[in-house]
């Protein structure tokens, strides 16, 4: 924990615990999110990744421990003040009936508004800018439910973008999207990072994580097993420890970063299916 990357952390959590229905979902972890970097959280289903993002955004208050945002205790900040500095896009946000793109995106301005300041010029500018950045300007009047999955995800990204926060937490922003839409979301995140924002993403695609992340967090059973730069962190043993996965690591021929290839025939027994003689 002493390397340079941790000297400037915008978000950190110490001694975090979360108990839910008698189970420890987060079991005592310390977390450091470096400022201005793209951090990716990886881990198996149910290892507490989503809960971690909710704790980091105070949507779910931790049972123990505290989160600091830029030197301030998150739990002591006002809810709107917090939402002006930190945005969370949950995995499955609910889509209200009959709402159009512009209206949904403008909900992201809520923390900047009040009863006396319902729609300032800043609000208007932020929403317009978010629509431009996500390429949705032409669809501003379309009903969100009529758009494709990839387009809808862009609308949600535009919403958190309109929030104009320094930190963005995105929970599986690429799930259920086709490969082209996935890459477009990832490129978008990289562009935000190049603007100097801090991003934390939960992903399932390890190769995408290796390609885009500056910083990796590997979780298992509510704990962080390892963290650091992808190149330094990823090795066959780590994959085995985190995912129970037998894989070899090669160099991504396109980006030059590490890339994993799962080995064949490692899970036949998992389903109780025995190999038939002559099958192969």
């Amino acid at each position: 924990m002493t390397s340079d990357i941790y000297s400037d952390c915008i978000l950190q959590g110490r001694g975090l615990h979360l108990h839910y229905a008698g189970r420890a979902v987060i079991a005592g972890l310390d977390i450091y999110i470096p400022r201005g970097q793209l951090t990716v959280v990886l881990g198996t289903n149910g290892c507490g990744k989503s809960s971690l993002l909710k704790i980091l955004s105070q949507v779910l208050p931790p049972s123990k421990g505290q989160v600091m945002l830029d030197g301030k205790v998150l739990a002591d900040m006002g809810s709107k003040e917090r939402a002006r500095q930190l945005a969370l896009l949950v995995q499955k946000p609910e889509l209200p009936d009959g709402i159009d793109v512009q209206e949904l995106v403008s909900r992201g301005r809520y923390p900047h508004q009040s009863l006396w300041r319902q729609w300032s010029e800043d609000d208007e500018y932020a929403v317009a800018q978010a629509l431009v950045a996500t390429g949705l300007t032409d669809m501003a009047r379309r009903e969100v439910s009529s758009l494709s999955g990839g387009q809808q995800q862009r609308v949600w990204l535009a919403l958190v973008l309109a929030q104009q926060t320094e930190v963005l937490l995105l929970d599986e922003p690429t799930s259920f999207l086709d490969i082209r839409a996935q890459l477009s979301v990832m490129d978008f995140c990289r562009a935000l990072r190049l603007q100097g924002r801090t991003l934390v993403l939960v992903l399932h695609d390890i190769n995408q994580a290796l390609r885009y992340a500056d910083h990796l967090l590997l979780m298992r059973e509510g704990r962080i097993l390892a963290q650091g730069a992808p190149e330094a962190l990823i090795c066959e043993q780590v994959l085995k420890d985190v995912f129970d996965l037998d894989a070899c690591i090669i160099q991504d021929p396109e980006a030059g970063c590490p890339m994993l290839i799962p080995r064949v025939d490692q899970y036949d027994h998992a389903w109780g299916v025995t190999q038939q003689p002559g099958y192969k």
Binding site: K54, E81, L95, Y110, S120
Partner: protein
Amino acid sequence: MIGPRFSVWRWGSFTLRAPAPAALQTAVVGTFGVLLALMLSLTLGESGLSPARLIQALRGEAEPYEQWLLWQSRLPRALCALGVGTALGVAGAVFQSLSRNPLGSPDIIGINAGASAGAVLWLLFLPGLSVAWGALAGAVCVLLLLLPGLGPQGQLSRSLVLMGVAINAFAIAVVQFALTLVQREQAQQMLGYLAGGLVHRDWQQVALIGLILAVALPGLLLLSRRLGLLALGRDMASSLGNPLRSTQLTALILATVLALGAVLCAGPVAFVALVAPHLARRRGQQLALLRSGLIGALLLLSADTLTLTLPGTQRLPVGVLTAMLGGAYLAWILFAELLRRKTKQQMPG
């Protein structure tokens, strides 16, 4: 200006934003609808006044009997219907938004059944006092029973709605049991009350429901931006800086006060709180609370007018008609939607 759906007014750093076209439409339709329904309610029926007589009575130039009829009987009754309908429509919309469940209305989670059981037991054991207090006591009992099921942030969870359904069934059983215990005449009196009624309303009830609306409605309208944010899901609302606990608890208390006020004034009127928000939302999210209240008011007043008009229904409690009308209409709408969706699915591509 953001576009045709909203209008924005700015004075320095003070800015207002409102869905002006929708608001105008609602105001116009609402005013005409309410006036028309009031006219019909006052002029139709056995004791109705003809339009000419109505105007005379309003000016105070009609005969004493007609004067009395308008000012002491028909007008308070109609205003009471409007007030109770508004309260039920708004309360239903808030309950549905808090429970994130289209069935989460005060009557489904057992407030009406609790009121019925309270009323019946009151008639059984304390026949001297006004039955409305029994209804109120029953409804409050149900709320107290549901209280432990309330989430830490004031949310009406799915299990709370289910708990309400169970309490509902229990309270109905209590009512049935009580009805078997009493004489036929008393049973008829009970049955009349159980369906919710507006017969013999006076200015006292109008004042009561008016007061309750004057307190709860502005509060809920102030909360409506926060309630609208809940439509994105609780986690998104919370991450956008909506203090969930205070939003949900305040809205819940205000909506409960509205539902209890309705029970106190008209007994357990069925279905208005469930149907009105659905009808209101069919034209989008904007002003959903206000429109739900308006639809509730129109629904209850029209149903009451019908009970006065239809042959042989003078003694029919208005709650029976709201259940019939509202239930049939909602079923028809949902059925039509289902059919439309099915034909859409069958289309190639």
